[in-house]
Subunit: 244 residues, 2 copies
C-alpha cells in the first residue's frame, strides 16, 4: 500500500503505530486487517479489538517487512479508504480548506492535523495534491486522518461554492493584512502549492487575498512561510473570534 496504484486498486491504506491504530479502531473507519505484536494485542481493550475484520499476530521481523517506517512500531493496520464527496450543504455552513496542488505529503498531513485541531471538518484537495492516504501523509496527520474528511475537488467545486454565496479567501504574499481582515465563519480558505502558490484559475475566484505580515515590516526575511505553517496561522485567526 506504499504505492498509490495499489491504494487505488484495493482502496486500502496503511496506518502505523500505537496511537494512530488505536484512534483508527475507535473511529468510524473500517479496519480490514490489524497486524500487531502479541504483547500489544493483549493490552488492547476487547471492544477495540473487535473492530478489526481480521487480526494477525506478527513478530518483529514480519512487522519490519510490513512497515513503511525505518523503525517499525508495535502495530500496523490496513484500513478502507473512505469515499467522501464534496457535500455542499456541509461546506456552505462551515469553514473549509481547499488545497491547490499541495504536493508534499508531510505538509498535507500536517494541514489535516491543523484542520482537526481547529474543527475544520473538510479538506478539499485539487488534482496535483499529494495523496491523503500516502503513508507519509497518514503519519503526519496522525489520528486526524480518521476524523477530517479529505475529498477530491477542482475549480468547478470552488465556482459552485462561490456562486452559492460562500466567501473564498486565499493565502498570498500580498493582499490584505490577515490580522486586520474581517474573517467570515462560513468560508473556504485556499492554500497554494509549495513553490508556485495558488494557481491562476483558483486565484481568479478568490474574494479576499490575505497575507501574513512578516516582522519587522520591510526587512529581508524568508520569501514565504511553509504552507502548513501559514495554514496554522490563518486557521488560528479564523477561529479565534469564535472562541469562548
Amino acid at each position: 500500500m506504499e504505492q498509490r496504484k495499489y491504494r487505488c486498486r484495493y482502496r486500502l491504506f496503511v496506518a502505523e503505530g500505537d496511537k494512530i491504530v488505536r484512534e483508527a479502531l475507535a473511529s468510524s473507519l473500517t479496519v480490514e486487517c490489524l497486524m500487531a505484536k502479541e504483547e500489544w494485542l493483549r493490552q488492547l481493550p476487547a471492544p477495540l479489538r473487535a473492530k478489526a475484520r481480521e487480526t494477525l499476530t506478527v513478530n518483529d521481523r514480519e512487522l519490519a517487512q510490513i512497515s513503511t517506517l525505518k523503525t517499525s512500531n508495535q502495530t500496523v493496520a490496513l484500513l478502507q479508504i473512505p469515499e467522501y464527496d464534496t457535500d455542499d450543504k456541509e461546506l456552505l455552513s462551515d469553514l473549509s480548506l481547499y488545497l491547490d496542488k499541495v504536493q508534499n505529503p508531510g505538509n498535507l498531513g500536517t494541514i489535516i492535523r491543523i484542520a482537526d485541531w481547529f474543527g475544520i471538518r473538510r479538506v478539499m484537495c485539487s488534482e496535483g495534491c499529494a495523496d491523503p492516504y500516502n503513508p507519509k501523509t497518514v503519519q503526519s496527520a496522525m489520528g486526524a486522518i480518521t476524523r477530517v474528511k479529505t475529498c477530491p475537488a477542482d475549480i468547478t467545486t470552488l465556482q459552485r461554492l462561490k456562486s452559492a454565496g460562500l466567501q473564498i479567501y486565499g493565502a498570498f504574499l500580498q493582499g490584505e493584512n490577515l490580522y486586520r481582515s474581517d474573517l467570515a465563519s462560513q468560508a473556504v480558505i485556499v492554500m497554494g502549492n509549495e513553490s508556485q502558490g495558488i494557481g491562476k484559475e483558483a486565484a481568479q475566484l478568490i474574494d479576499k487575498r490575505l497575507y501574513i505580515p512578516s516582522y519587522p515590516a520591510g526587512t529581508p526575511s524568508s520569501e514565504s512561510l511553509n504552507v502548513a505553517a501559514a495554514t496554522a496561522i490563518i486557521c488560528s485567526e479564523f477561529r479565534k473570534p469564535h472562541q469562548p
Copy 2:
C-alpha cells in the same frame, strides 16, 4: 556531509538548489565549494560567483552523485558551519526560541524558517535536537538557514536568562489561553519534543505556560498540533501587537 560525524569533523554543510545556493552566496556565510551545471553558473551574477572559494562545473551524473535529494538540482554548495554562541546581550533584548529536543529535521527547518519570517534571530537548540545542518533541516529552512542563528544551549542557558529577568514562556497542552495572555516582546519561547513535549527540567523554569485553544472547545480533536505549526501560531501572536 550527509552524515553528522563528517559535518562535525569538517565543519561543513550542504545546501542544494538554485534559491538556497543564491541566498547562501549573498549571505555572510563562507562558501567553500560551489558545484553547479555550466548553464547555471553562466547565469550567476559575477559578484555572487566570486563569493565561492572554489567553483566546480559538474554534469548531471556528478550532480546526482553529490546530491542528497531524490531529484537533484542545478547546484550544490558546501558551506562552513558558522559557530554562534549564546550571546546574552542579544538574547536579553529580543524574542528568541529555545527548542527542547525537537528531533525531526524537517520540523527544525520549518521552525528556523518561521523564526526568520517573524524576525526571531536566535534559535537555541538543546541537546537531543536535530542537527540544524542536517540536509533535511537545511532544505526545510531554505534561505533562513543563512540568516537565523542557531546555537547549542542547555538548561543552564535558560536559567541564566531567567535570572537576568527574561520572561520564559512555554507551549503546553494546558495553561493560559495564548490569545488572552500578555506576551512580552523580550522573551524566550520554549517548544518541546514532538511526542514528549517540554521536559521536566525546562518546564520548571517556565514563567507562563501557554496553550493554543482547539475549536470548538471540548470536542475530540487531535491530541496536539505539530510542533512547527504550534510555533507558527505562537510567534504570530507574539509579533502581532508590534506590527505597524
